[in-house]
């Protein structure tokens, strides 16, 4: 029984230190991530709900498929991956650390046999002097050597970029740093959205979670405009914004221009150009067929108005000159949609200069009031994405660490060279943490160079 108790933590530890677990976690993450790219994330739209059966909907919901990247099991997979890479690092790091901090400086015969590349050079120079010459050669060609004397033999050891063995641990650390940044962002930051009509200001935004957030200052939209290419495709969406503190414009944030890909940041909160729309007012008069009971009616572009007969209407679009759309007629006109209390809604055009057309239309609609268009006061609103994320710099730090770490882990190699000088024979051995084949060639060339170097010294 006791052995079993002792074994459970041990086997759990072994499991978390295993690369097999890493492989299964990476593959599981890859496979499960596909779900969220097929099933729409967030509150499912009506059209989607009509496509799937209620049983399927229930199943998906209980498994968290509609917000799968924040579901308990996906977070668990990420947590297991984190635990896995921390365990692997804890297990392997001390040994790697020793290799870097306390390298073997003496080439014993056991070490010599384990090395991938060993070459020998002979020389007639006296051992003491030979040692000096080889050390100088290594210093010039490779790296500063450490010299040790053991049993009458001289041992030299030199190495390059030993720290690159740590690179892979930096990559693992970077993943954790990125996670920490993401957690900071979700705890202390928010994403929100706000619409501001031209000329108006706001001091609150609505977060994605539906919470109202006080900005602590006000933001006014002075103007919104769209510019077009000659092809008719949009070229630029632009808002002119002013930050107000206690109702007064803040100097450097007055009439600030923001476009897509160029946001505005104030006190850690950033505003991004995201959407736009019409918030202008349209003016009408409403009367009976004979012109009696005339009353004026103002309809805002973002809302609808109720007519005397109980139907509601809203404006689809308006123009200063209708002649381009309706040949033979001219002047301002508005296209409106009317929803009667019963029956189908319909779209009609209401004119400013053609009252006879307006009366004719009202007749056709049987008893509904006559609408007369009076013009519009054009006003746009700008839709801004709002974000505060104090964790984002931690995420970038993690990314930097990852890029540097991946580069060092892939492209730098820890290369070590040992030299033993005994009885006029110079034995050179070495190994590299990467690309042994290329290193062997390098060592051969180095030995050749040393041979010719030493023979020149022998016969000056």
């Amino acid at each position: 029984m006791t052995s079993k108790q002792r074994n459970l933590p041990q086997s759990l530890w072994d499991l978390f230190c295993s690369l097999k677990l890493t492989m299964s976690l990476l593959i599981s993450l890859a496979l499960t991530s596909i779900i969220g790219t097929i099933i729409p994330q967030g509150p499912p739209p009506q059209e989607y709900l009509e496509q799937i059966s209620p049983a399927k909907f229930k199943l998906y919901q209980s498994l968290g498929f509609f917000d799968m990247y924040h579901s308990w099991w996906f977070i668990l997979l990420l947590g297991l991956l984190t635990a896995n890479l921390v365990s692997c690092s804890i297990k392997r790091l001390p040994h790697i650390w020793q290799t870097i901090i306390r390298p073997e400086t003496v080439m014993t015969s056991a070490l010599e046999q384990s090395l991938g590349a060993v070459v020998s050079v002979s020389s007639k120079i006296k051992p003491e002097l030979l040692k000096e010459k080889v050390a100088a050669f290594l210093r010039a060609e490779f790296a500063e050597p450490v010299t040790t004397e053991v049993d009458g033999a001289w041992h030299l050891f030199a190495q390059k970029t030993p720290w690159c063995r740590l690179a892979v641990y930096f990559v693992h650390l970077s993943v954790i740093v990125i996670f920490i940044g993401a957690i900071i962002g979700s705890l202390f930051g928010y994403k929100g959205f706000v619409n501001i009509t031209e000329g108006q200001s706001i001091d609150k935004v609505v977060s994605r979670a539906g919470k109202e957030i006080n900005l602590g200052f006000s933001l006014r939209c002075d103007q919104f405009s769209v510019a077009y290419y000659t092809t008719g495709a949009p070229r630029e969406f632009k808002s002119i914004l002013t930050v107000l503190e206690n109702g007064k414009p803040v100097p450097d944030y007055t009439n600030a221009r923001i476009v897509v890909n160029d946001p505005l940041t104030y006190k850690g909160i950033t505003f991004y150009q995201s959407s736009y729309g019409n918030a202008g007012d349209y003016f009408f008069t409403v009367s009976d067929l004979d012109g009696k009971n005339a009353a004026s009616l103002t309809v805002n572009g973002t809302s609808s108005a109720t007519l005397p007969d109980g139907s509601s209407m809203h404006v689809l679009e308006a123009t200063e000159d209708v002649s381009a759309y309706v040949p033979g007629l001219s002047g301002p006109a508005a296209q409106v949609e009317i929803h009667p209390p019963q029956g189908k809604s319909e779209t009609i055009v209401v004119y400013a200069n053609h009252p006879e057309q307006n009366i004719q239309q009202a007749r056709e609609r049987k008893g509904s009031p006559v609408l007369q268009y009076k013009g519009a006061r054009k006003r746009m609103y700008t839709g801004l994405q709002v974000a505060k994320d104090p964790g984002v710099w931690v995420v970038w730090l993690g990314c930097l660490l990852m890029v540097v770490g991946v580069y060092a882990a892939f492209f730098l190699s820890h290369r070590r060279i040992w030299v033993r000088i005994r009885n006029g024979s110079v034995t050179i051995g070495g190994n590299a943490s990467k690309n042994q084949g290329a290193f062997r060639q390098y060592l051969d060339q180095l030995a050749e160079k040393l041979t010719s170097h030493l023979s020149r010294e022998e016969h000056p």
Binding site: L26, A387, C399
Partner: protein, 283 residues
């Protein structure tokens, strides 16, 4: 000389290069291999000129931007990066025969772009008006291209490994004679992914940086982002497979092929089948 003429010349050169590499495979004549790589070089040069010219032409039209803004331009750029990575690998390791398994990808891209797509230069939509476009697209596609090359090498690995297992057969052995040993193919596969993985990582990071700069969110689990992460997971698995018992050899080669399939889905499938923030890439 217009860019579209140069792109047609490029496509033809890649076709010739591919056919020459096939002939090289069958004949084992060194001269044919040299001719193949020469055609690939010529195509790469012509395409480099064509991309530069298209860039210049867009400025002449008054809508100046790097030619990386829609599906046509990205497919063309993808073909260019594939040949570039192949040529660099050839310069370093000199295994020409890999061209027979890599040039088809580049040719397929060019032929599809030239024959099946609208080649007109369009003005840049506001969402793409940023310097990040250049960094993001270049790093991503260089990464994708390295994965394409790795996929070609992995296919060779599996063919060769299956052949080695089943013993010599007279007909096949002549075709396979030019193949490098599986040890070398495994190594080249790893090296290609060693180029691709850091570039994909950079591509995802530049994408996140751009998203954060333009939308205020560095990561929103949009299908494109998620698929790029899926690709990253697959190649991260590949890199760890080397040190895991039971995962070296054929399984690693399969991972590399699955990784490239995921890459292609991330690049094309997401735009064709799923909706999301990268919609301009699907036109």
């Amino acid at each position: 000389m217009t860019s579209s003429l140069l792109f047609n010349i490029t496509t033809f050169a890649y076709l010739v290069a591919m056919l020459l590499f096939f002939a090289f495979l069958a004949s084992r004549a060194k001269a044919i291999g040299t001719a193949g790589i020469a055609a690939a070089y010529f195509g790469l040069l012509a395409q480099t000129g064509a991309i530069a010219l298209r860039w210049k032409e867009s400025y002449a039209m008054g809508v100046g931007h790097a030619p990386l803004s829609n599906l046509y331009e990205s497919v063309v750029f993808f073909a260019w990066t594939i040949v570039l990575i192949f040529v660099l690998l050839d310069l370093k390791y000199r295994y020409r025969v890999i061209g027979a398994f890599v040039m088809p990808f580049a040719l397929l891209g060019m032929a599809w772009a030239q024959l099946g797509m609208n080649t007109g230069i369009e003005p840049l939509v506001p969402a793409l008006q940023s310097n990040w476009l250049l960094y993001h697209v270049i790093t991503c596609f260089l990464g994708y291209a390295a994965f394409a090359v790795a996929c070609g090498i992995s296919i060779m690995y599996l063919i060769k490994a299956n052949h080695d297992e089943s013993g010599q057969k007279a007909g096949e052995s002549s075709l396979l004679g030019m193949f490098p040993p599986i040890r070398v193919l495994d190594d080249l596969n790893y090296r290609a992914i060693m180029i691709g993985f850091p570039l994909l990582t950079l591509g995802i990071i530049t994408g996140a940086a751009w998203a954060n700069y333009a939308w205020g969110t560095y990561w929103s689990w949009d299908p494109k982002e998620t698929w790029s992460l899926i690709v990253w997971f697959v190649y991260a698995a590949f890199l760890h497979a080397r040190f895991t018992r039971g995962w070296v050899g054929k399984r690693a080669a399969w991972l590399s092929i699955i990784g490239f399939a995921a890459t292609i889905f991330c690049y094309l499938g997401v735009n064709l089948f799923l909706s999301g923030l990268h919609s301009y890439g699907g036109k």
